[in-house]
Symmetry: C2
Subunit: 159 residues, 2 copies
């Protein structure tokens, strides 16, 4: 773990909270290069009606617009939840140098849980990986969201 | 194979050719629902400086804009090359019902070659898969592109 990892993960948690307020599942991400945040995003799948609207991709596309190219060599991506296959594949394609995530995703995680896409020696790029940064808080944020969504659904069913 | 598969793959080959003319690797894709093309795209990674600008994602995002939602239930996606991990994961996330591709990609293919992401029983969606439609023509188109790119590079090195 690097000394700034928790500070950046705090910011990713704030992006996730904003996504939840807009009605999306709370996941947040940042792209950091040379100590500067060059892309940030929360999950926007519902808001944009876009299957690629996960936080990692929103943040990476912003970083690429900032840099004017599709590679983010040297950059670190922070995200509150272990990336799914789509997002893990995007990090490889964008040549992210380092991935830092919070909570594990046993159902769809493609970095350690179901697959190891981000450091597969058969693919044309691999990255350094740090897991479990502020993991409990990242997991709690998701759990609270789904608990509230279930309660709302139940209340609606009773009415 | 369904009776219209080759006809739709011909159209995907045309999208791929247009991508090559714009300077991108020739890959083309279509999204078809109830006999209607609701999204189409060629590879736009270089043109848009976007790591997610693969043909499948360009076509899917157009289909989602057309339908106003992030799911394309019932749709078939045609693509000239076996999807990479990013694209295979996107097809799962978008709930594509059927995937038809042309050439295999032994280096990064995530449907049959390196992974089987599109029908993994552990993920929350699986799709029907047809491989090898107009495979030779899809592969030849890519080979010609890379041969010409190498020749151009060599000519530049000699100058």
């Amino acid at each position: 773990m690097h000394e700034d990892d928790e500070r950046y993960m705090e910011e990713a948690l704030r992006m996730a909270a904003a996504a939840a307020e807009a009605g999306d599942v709370p996941v947040g991400a940042l792209v950091v290069l040379d100590g500067e945040i060059i892309g940030r995003g929360g999950n926007r799948r519902e808001v944009d009606a876009d299957p690629t609207g996960h936080a990692e991709i929103v943040a990476l596309r912003e970083a690429c617009r900032t840099m004017g190219r599709w590679r983010v060599d040297g950059a670190t991506l922070y995200v509150t939840l272990e990336p799914c296959p789509m997002c893990a594949g995007t990090l490889v394609n964008a040549r992210v140098a380092r991935l830092v995530y919070g909570a594990s995703d046993p159902k769809a995680g493609a970095v350690r849980s179901l697959y190891e896409l981000c450091d597969d020696p058969r693919l044309n790029h691999r990255m350094a990986i740090t897991t479990g940064v502020l993991a409990q808080r990242c997991a709690d944020q998701l759990r609270s969201f789904f608990r509230a969504a279930r309660a709302k659904h139940k209340a609606r069913a009773i009415k």
